[in-house]
C-alpha cells in the first residue's frame, strides 16, 4: 500500500538524488573567447567523450552519468541532422535544441522513476563573440542562458569563482586553455594534457567549426 509523500518532499528528494550523482562527476567549463567557444573538461579517458560535435556551429558537453548524457548527445545529433535535412543547414540552432533538451529533462524529472543525473551544455558560436550562445540545462529541465563563461558539474561554484577572477573575453586559445585548466584543477593539483579533454568551436572557419585540441598541441598550450 503506497504511503503519502508530500510533493515538495518528492521533488526535493529527486533533486538531491540528481545533484548527488552530478557532484560525483568531474567538472567542465566553457568560455567564450576571441577565437571561439572553448570547452575544457577534466576527463582522463581518451575514448569516452564529454565534449562533442552536434552540428556545423553547435557543440554539446555533458557531466554526470555517461550513458545518460551520451544518449542525449546522440538524440541531439539526430535532431540537428534531421532538421538540417528537412529545412536547411542555417535553420539548425542551439536555442531550439536546448529547449528540446529542457523538455525531455523536465519530463523525465517529474514523470519517470528517476531523474537523469546530468547537466548539459549546448553552445553555438557566432561570427562575433557578442552573438555566442551557451545554454546550460540542468537535470530538472531548467535552462540558463549563459554569457562569458559557465561551469558544469561538481564544485562548479568554486571553479566558476576561480575562473571569474581572471576571465577575459579577448583571450586567445592558449590563454583560455591555461586559465580553464587552472580553474578546474584548483591550487593543489596541476593538469597534464592527458587529464583534459579540450575542444573549440572556431569562430572563423569553413562549415564545421568543431575542432578538438589534443596530444602535443594541447601539451604545448599547457606549457
Amino acid at each position: 500500500m503506497p504511503f503519502y509523500v508530500a510533493p515538495e518532499q518528492l521533488m526535493k528528494d529527486r533533486a538531491d538524488f540528481a545533484r548527488k550523482g552530478i557532484a560525483r562527476g568531474r567538472a567542465l567549463t566553457a568560455l567564450s573567447i576571441q577565437d571561439g567557444i572553448l570547452i575544457c573538461a577534466e576527463n582522463r579517458s581518451n575514448s569516452l567523450r564529454k565534449v562533442s560535435e552536434i552540428y556545423d556551429r553547435i557543440a554539446f558537453a555533458g557531466v554526470g552519468r555517461y550513458n545518460e548524457f551520451d544518449q542525449l548527445r546522440i538524440a541531439g545529433v539526430r535532431h540537428a541532422d534531421l532538421k538540417g535535412y528537412t529545412y536547411s543547414r542555417e535553420d539548425v540552432d542551439a536555442r531550439s535544441l536546448a529547449n528540446q533538451y529542457a523538455q525531455l529533462l523536465g519530463q523525465t524529472f517529474t514523470h519517470e522513476m528517476k531523474p537523469m543525473e546530468v547537466e548539459i551544455l549546448v553552445a553555438e558560436v557566432a561570427m562575433e563573440s557578442s552573438g555566442d550562445q551557451m545554454f546550460h540545462v540542468l537535470y530538472d529541465g531548467t535552462v540558463n542562458d549563459e554569457s562569458g563563461y559557465t561551469v558544469l558539474g561538481g564544485e562548479a561554484d568554486s571553479i566558476a569563482e576561480r575562473l571569474g577572477q581572471s576571465y577575459d573575453g579577448g583571450w586567445a586559445v592558449g590563454d583560455g586553455v591555461r586559465a580553464a585548466s587552472a580553474a578546474l584543477s584548483g591550487q593543489e593539483r596541476t593538469f597534464e594534457a592527458d587529464d583534459l579533454e579540450v575542444a573549440i568551436l572556431v569562430r572563423e572557419t569553413g562549415r564545421r567549426a568543431f575542432q578538438r585540441i589534443e596530444g602535443e598541441e594541447l601539451a604545448e598550450m599547457l606549457g
Partner: protein, 266 residues
C-alpha cells in the same frame, strides 16, 4: 521537431537512412515508369588516379530528352573531407542521393566519434545505389563514381558502380554517363601511371572537351558565360576544387594548341 528518441531495440544507430525511415522522412519509391516525364539527366563524369590521389571532373550540362535543361548544374561534390562523389543519371534522384550520402557520412562520424573507412564509405554508397534499384527500373537510374584518399593506406582510390549497386574498384580511371565511351578512350590514351595531379587535370579537361564534341548530352566549356566543368583533386589535404579561372586557362591552352595544329581537331 521533437528529439528523436528510440527504444533500445528500434535504435537506428549511426545510420542516417534508417533514421529517416523511422522518422517517416525517407523519399517514396516511384511506382510508375518515367517514360512520359521529361526528367533531367546528368551526364559525363570522370575520375583519374594520380600521384597525389584522385582527380575528379564532370561537365555542367543536364538534358531532358533533346533539350538542354540546365547548363550549369554540378555533378562533382565533396562527400566528406577525404572523398568525393560524381553523379550521372536522373538528376533529381542523383542530387538527393548525394545529399543523403554526405549527411550519412557526417552523421556516422558525429554519432560514432570516428569517420568511416574509405571502404566503408564506398560500401555505403553501393547500398544506396542498390536501394535505388526499384526506382532505376522505372527510369530513375543513378550511377555515381566515388573517389577518395585512403588515409590509412596513403593512396587515392576510386570506385565505379552499376545500377544494381555493384561496386567495382578501378586502378587507373573510371568514367560514367552518356559520354563515358569517348571520355574513357581519351583518358585511356593519355593515362600515365604515377603522373601528377596537374597533368591528370589537363587530361580530364581534354577528355571532357573531346566528349562534348561527340556526345550531344555533354556540355563543353562555355567561354561566353564563363561556365566550365567542375574539377577537383582529392589528396592528403582532402577534397579541393580547382578554381574556375585555372580550369578556364587550361581550356584556353587546349584550344590554342588545337588552333596551332590548323584548327581542325579531327
Amino acid at each position: 521537431m521533437t528529439l528523436p528518441l528510440f527504444e533500445a531495440g528500434g535504435d537506428p544507430g549511426p545510420n542516417f537512412a534508417a533514421l529517416l525511415r523511422s522518422s517517416g522522412l525517407a523519399p517514396p519509391v516511384p511506382d510508375a515508369p518515367a517514360t512520359d516525364l521529361m526528367i533531367s539527366h546528368a551526364t559525363t563524369v570522370v575520375a583519374i588516379r594520380c600521384q597525389q590521389g584522385v582527380v575528379m571532373a564532370g561537365d555542367r550540362r543536364a538534358t531532358a530528352g533533346h533539350l538542354i535543361s540546365h547548363r550549369s548544374i554540378e555533378k562533382v561534390f565533396p562527400a566528406d573531407r577525404y572523398s568525393g562523389v560524381a553523379i550521372a543519371g536522373a538528376a533529381g534522384p542523383a542530387m538527393e542521393m548525394v545529399r543523403l550520402f554526405q549527411l550519412q557520412l557526417e552523421h556516422y562520424e558525429k554519432v560514432e566519434g570516428k569517420a568511416l573507412s574509405l571502404d566503408g564509405k564506398a560500401n555505403q554508397l553501393g547500398m544506396m545505389v542498390r536501394n535505388n534499384l526499384p526506382a532505376a527500373m522505372q527510369g530513375f537510374a543513378v550511377v555515381p563514381l566515388f573517389a577518395g584518399y585512403d588515409t590509412s593506406r596513403g593512396v587515392g582510390r576510386l570506385f565505379q558502380y552499376d545500377v544494381t549497386g555493384g561496386r567495382y574498384e578501378e586502378r587507373e580511371y573510371a568514367v560514367g554517363g552518356s559520354g563515358s565511351l569517348h571520355a574513357g578512350t581519351v583518358i585511356k590514351l593519355g593515362y600515365r601511371s604515377g603522373a601528377d595531379a596537374d597533368e591528370m587535370i589537363d587530361l580530364a579537361v581534354s577528355a571532357l572537351f573531346r566528349t562534348a564534341e561527340e556526345d550531344a548530352a555533354t556540355g563543353g566549356p562555355d567561354l561566353v558565360r564563363g561556365i566550365y566543368p567542375v574539377v577537383a583533386v582529392i589528396g592528403a589535404d582532402g577534397f579541393e576544387r580547382v578554381v574556375d579561372t585555372d580550369v578556364e586557362s587550361r581550356f584556353r591552352n587546349l584550344l590554342a594548341s588545337l588552333e596551332n595544329r590548323g584548327g581542325d581537331s579531327q
